[in-house]
Chain length 109, copies 2
């Protein structure tokens, strides 16, 4: 994924309940759907053993984020997330202004 | 942590090497130093078993981020990170424009 700033990031931090039913399936389906969504640029996620996770998805525009939020399958997952899978979450919409990276064997760029 | 947008987020995604020497100590020291740094608002992080992690720190301004990047202890950690602890990382500086959250027993706000 090599977009050039500016683009948008949705920072989703969440705490899982201990309800496993349906979660892994939803996660897989939603990731596949997001990849086909207009304006989707990429997704990075990590979760700790204690249930706290950070997921950042990247988007071309705020319109793309709004459309994904209103996607019917995503809406169903959001509702189920509040009922079953998450005890709390926070969503931040942010504009990525600049970036740099390091990779072993290459200089920081 | 309850800042009101706009504020800034530094999205640090990284892949760990298998070098453990000094890493946990650096992580603890750096988190403590960051908390005392001017303009620091908070930090959220998660890492998977495979070594991939997402750390997001929140800051009042771009100046606060620049000052933290140039902190001498932090600079030493960055150098050691490139030599020893990380095979790759990416840093994105983003402006948080809006946010909302959910917590069990409360409505989404």
């Amino acid at each position: 994924m090599v977009p050039t700033p500016p683009y948008y990031a949705v920072i989703f931090t969440s705490t899982r309940t201990d309800v496993e039913d349906g979660y892994a399936e939803m996660d897989a389906v939603l990731e596949r759907l997001a990849k086909d969504a207009p304006g989707f640029l990429g997704l990075e996620a990590a979760r700790k053993e204690d249930g706290f996770g950070v997921t950042v998805s990247y988007w071309e525009s705020e319109n793309a984020i709004a459309a994904w939020k209103a996607n019917v399958d995503h809406l169903a997952a959001q509702a189920r997330g509040r009922t079953d899978w998450y005890s709390a979450y926070k969503v931040r919409i942010a504009k990525v202004e600049r970036e740099y990276e390091f990779s072993k064997g290459k200089d920081e760029v």
